[in-house]
């Protein structure tokens, strides 16, 4: 890779599609809650594309797109319109997708993010609004399937397209860009950022050019990357593939390639000769929209605090490290959980450690979202309180947290921790200390001879006997008193 890096510069531009999870679809009153609904149950004449039906613009979806565009520092032109993108496919019931062509809702923005603590900025060409397609279900692989089933529940769900400039120079930049973008979308309430279910989709245009060159090389579009990891791997693979072709004197075809996650490679899907002529033209069923300055002001004022400023606030006001602050704010749900725990009185640094440590580990293992966990901010705050008051040890706290996490109701686990609190009474400790001293004469001798490690060993033995319930500081003190 290092030899390649000296010869070629990587150029990546991302197109991100985000479902706008408004209550109703983009152009009809049907619900957008399609994931669990039986096939074709959330449909009407409009989203089925029945003859004679007409679209009506969802105001909320337009507003959400403008809010996103404002968060991405875009200009909002006064005049915008919808266009038809014409192509045939069974998941597209009208034979055209209502999208936006030359007058999108917004343009000329940028997104700021970090890579390993280094600030980066990527231009945003435009953010526009369109409708999602339906879904096709094949029995097995598409090439071999005898038939395909069409589910139009998803058809007409509002879909925002965020087109980035080709400003990204590496796979990890691309990943960080999408992660920050996802956080912003979550903060604004566009969707939950779930890539697996398709709420968030990402296509990458990848090309290489000789270092120092200002012209772009032949670009390849990569589709079907369903996770941050996939984005990273696919771009890395593609960079390696392209550089090996170019290094051996070959030429690249402008084409669309699909990412095969299992095989870890991109596969050619469609070359440019078969590129569609989409015959865009203004959607005659929808009058153009005028976005007034007062609407823009109103929507700007409705924006919540965004990840970057929240992170900066955590660093400046709460003393978190940049790394921790970035991690917590990368998910709105995390940051909201964190803020609530702090509001209830939890120490900022300790709360951050718990959320990014044990809590994240357990959530990740279960593929669970923090808002779905039974542990609520109040539980965490109380647990931290018990540790601070010396009622339970750090080790006990870890066990208690896991017990709380596993339980439907974390309350009893928390109460049990309080009840089975540390052994701090001198009488009880006395007995334990005597037992340890009696069983470990060699360590006692070592300690007397000045070996401090022996004390650690004896404390450890006492903790073992009490299953971690003894107060380590007191234990330490009693042992010293008795032996020295």
């Amino acid at each position: 890779m290092s030899a390649i890096a000296t010869r070629f510069e990587v150029v990546v531009g991302l197109e991100v599609h985000a479902q706008v999870l408004t209550q109703s679809k983009m152009f009809c009153p049907c619900s957008t809650d399609y994931l669990t609904a039986p096939p074709n149950s959330i449909t009407c004449p409009v989203c089925l594309g029945l003859p004679g039906s007409l679209p009506v613009i969802n105001r909320k979806a337009v507003e959400q797109t403008i809010r996103t565009a404002l968060a991405l520092n875009c200009e909002i032109p006064e005049f915008t319109k919808f266009d038809r993108k014409n192509y045939f496919y069974p998941d597209l019931p009208k034979g055209y997708q209502i999208s936006q062509y030359d007058l999108p809702l917004s343009r000329n923005g940028y997104l700021e993010f970090d890579v390993n603590g280094e600030p980066r900025r990527c231009g945003i060409t435009r953010v526009h609004l369109e409708e999602d397609t339906g879904k096709l279900l094949h029995a097995g692989a598409i090439e071999e399937s005898e038939s395909s089933l069409v589910d139009l529940n998803r058809a007409g769900v509002p879909l925002m397209e965020i087109v980035g400039e080709p400003d990204l120079r590496a796979a990890d930049e691309a990943r960080e860009y999408v992660m920050r973008l996802r956080a912003i979308l979550q903060y604004i309430g566009i969707n939950n950022g779930d890539m697996e279910s398709g709420q968030l989709r990402c296509d990458a245009n990848v090309s290489l050019r000789p270092e120092g060159s200002t012209e772009f090389g032949t670009k390849v579009e990569i589709k079907n990357m369903n996770s941050f990891r996939a984005i990273h791997r696919a771009i890395q693979f593609e960079v390696a593939r392209q550089s090996s072709v170019l290094s051996s004197g070959g030429t690249l075809a402008q084409e669309t390639r699909g990412w095969n996650d299992a095989k870890g490679e991109t596969v050619s899907q469609r070359s440019k000769e078969y590129a569609h002529d989409y015959r865009y033209f203004p959607e005659p069923d929808l009058p153009p929209l005028t976005i007034t300055a007062s609407t823009i002001t109103q929507l700007r004022e409705s924006l919540p605090e965004l990840p970057t400023s929240r992170r900066d606030r955590y660093i400046k006001d709460l003393g978190l490290t940049a790394y921790d602050a970035t991690l917590i704010t990368s998910s709105k749900a995390f940051a909201d959980f964190y803020d609530e725990a702090r509001r209830l009185g939890a120490d900022p640094k300790k709360a951050a450690n718990w959320i990014l440590g044990d809590f994240s580990r357990l959530l990740n293992a279960d593929h669970k979202e923090i808002q779905d966990a039974s542990v609520k901010p109040a539980h965490l705050q109380q647990l931290i309180g018990l540790i601070d008051a010396g009622v339970i040890s750090g080790k006990m706290a870890k066990q208690t947290f896991e017990a709380m996490y596993r339980a439907q109701d974390p309350g009893p686990a928390l109460e049990a921790a309080k009840g089975s609190s540390q052994i701090s009474s001198d009488a009880e400790l006395e007995a334990i200390v005597d037992q340890v001293i009696g069983q470990n004469p060699k360590s006692v001798a070592d300690l007397k001879a000045g070996k401090q490690q022996a004390l650690m060993f004896l404390v450890g033995q006492a903790m073992k006997l009490t299953k971690g319930r003894a107060n380590p500081e007191r234990l330490n003190a009693r042992l010293r008193e008795k032996i020295l």
């Binding site: 003859p51 009506v56 019931p93 034979g95 069409v150």
Partner: protein
């Protein structure tokens, strides 16, 4: 006069006075359909049971004197481009053969609320593309004034039904003249309202920026009644106007005294039949005698309307008709081995020649590299035509001209020459492109075939078009002319 020969207004009085029941009236019209339907072929589907059921319900309303409206109990025909819940609606196309919409068009809903009686779906050119009804995917319609003649198109079935007594009134749709031209050729009144005046929701689209639903009736009063019932904003059609709907009857009988009537010189086109031109000149003179002042005006870009229309309408149609792919509803070809073949065979077999021609025209006009030269250029022409009308309406209240340059021509006369067929709409198309309204009212006969006078009024000034058309109708006896089939004579 038998019931089926009368107007909405007359029948409303008879219904209210209980001189006739809606069931009797409906049976009278159904009887006429039985008698002459095989000659005109005006209907694709007669909804006899539905009509009688609605007629009974209307009689209940009339008997109880509860919520009786001008259309309660009146048998009306609907052009097949209108979706009626649970009733086969095909837009005259084989590709929609057997298609049953699960919903009602807004106009259908409004007529239903009025208590109107639906006789059935009238024949039309496939997807409303045509000027003679010979492009129907099922069969051509014959003109009740001469069965060897076309009734005009595309709303030829609605026109023939009203002209033959097979309906008291009908709804049509007009994209480039499809209400007015067949109305002129069958001796009835046909009114294309301003784009946006009537909701298009449930109208199977031909060209979305031009399509408009309107009344086809025996006289001007009936058109006013029908338009009053269907006009107005519809939240389901974003292109429908919020402009308030006036009471069309408050000004209907005000006459033309003091009005300024414009005569565009460009509307006396080459190829206009002398008898048609004579009838139009006579009609203008008559209105002048009624106290109007006549002024010659110019709409300088009129000659560009037809070519611009044949870019814009096919372009929109090529996209609107993409949904007919055999996947979800309508005709599906058998024997396809893959998806592309399925699309191709379905559309090859399901669409007629004229529809395919327009899809190809439109697809070409929107293609990458041609868009600016064709579609964009045509839109610029459309702007010029809108400006032409604006300037003319600064000087005059309405514009007068022929509806069609010729009377009804023989079936088959123009089927081999698409351009000759397109020229039928040369004087009706500008009103669609110009966002104005136009009404055709009978103004004479030439060799026993009807001639239509077209009155064009500014956008959302339907009441002005109705006022002038009514003044003309009231000053003449043309509305009493009945087709041989209506009279019960052999056509």
């Amino acid at each position: 006069m038998t019931f089926y020969q009368r107007t909405i207004r007359e029948l409303h009085q008879l219904l209210v006075d209980r001189e006739v029941s809606s069931v009797e009236l409906t049976e009278s019209v159904l009887g006429q359909i039985d008698a002459v339907g095989e000659k005109t072929k005006a209907y694709l589907l007669v909804t006899r049971e539905l009509a009688l059921r609605q007629a009974k319900a209307a009689d209940d309303r009339l008997r109880a004197k509860s919520d009786v409206r001008p259309l309660t109990g009146i048998p009306i025909a609907l052009k097949d481009v209108l979706c009626v819940k649970d009733v086969v609606s095909t837009a005259g196309s084989k590709i929609l053969k057997g298609f049953v919409p699960p919903y009602n068009a807004t106009v259908v809903e409004r007529l239903e609320a009025e208590g109107a009686v639906f006789l059935g779906k009238t024949n039309c050119d496939e997807f409303a593309m045509g000027s003679s009804n010979e492009n129907s995917g099922y069969w051509p319609v014959h003109n009740p004034w001469g069965l060897d003649r076309v009734p005009g198109g595309s709303s030829g079935g609605s026109a023939a039904a009203v002209a033959s007594g097979e309906a008291v009134a009908a709804l049509g749709s007009d994209t480039g003249g499809s209400i007015r031209q067949p109305a002129a050729l069958t001796g009835i009144v046909g009114f294309k309202p301003t784009y946006g005046r009537v909701s298009r929701y449930g109208l199977i689209a031909f060209a979305s920026s031009l399509d408009q639903i309107g009344p086809m009736t025996r006289d001007v009063v009936d058109s006013a009644i029908l338009l009053q019932a269907i006009a107005g904003h519809d939240p389901r059609d974003s292109t429908s106007s919020a402009h308030p709907v006036p009471d069309y009857f408050s000004t209907l009988r005000n006459g033309v005294r003091g009005m300024r009537l414009g005569v565009p010189k460009e509307y006396f086109v080459a190829g206009m039949e002398p008898a048609v031109e004579q009838a139009i000149r006579d009609a203008i003179r008559l209105l002048e005698q009624q106290g109007a002042s006549i002024e010659e005006v110019s709409l300088p870009h009129s000659d560009l309307a037809l070519p611009a229309y044949y870019i814009i309408a096919p372009a929109e149609a090529s996209s609107n008709l993409a949904r007919y792919d055999g996947v979800r509803y309508g005709y599906q070809a058998e024997g396809a081995r893959n998806l592309i073949e399925e699309y191709m065979l379905t559309r090859q077999q399901g669409f007629g020649a004229e529809v395919k021609r327009r899809i190809m025209l439109g697809t070409y006009a929107l293609s990458s590299g041609y868009y600016d030269a064709y579609y964009l250029q045509a839109q610029k022409v459309r702007t010029l035509i809108i400006e032409d009308f604006k300037q003319a309406f600064e000087k005059v209240d309405v514009l007068l001209g022929a509806t069609s340059p010729t009377v009804a021509f023989p079936l088959g006369a123009k089927t081999q020459d698409p351009v000759a067929m397109y020229l039928n709409d040369i004087i009706t198309i500008p009103a669609n492109l110009g966002n104005v309204c136009g009404i055709s009212v009978p103004c004479g006969l030439a060799d026993g075939l009807p001639i239509g006078l077209q009155v064009i009024a500014p956008g959302f000034r339907e009441e002005v078009a109705l006022q002038v058309a009514y003044a003309f109708e009231a000053a003449t006896d043309f509305r009493k002319l009945q087709s041989p089939l209506m009279r019960g004579a052999a056509a």
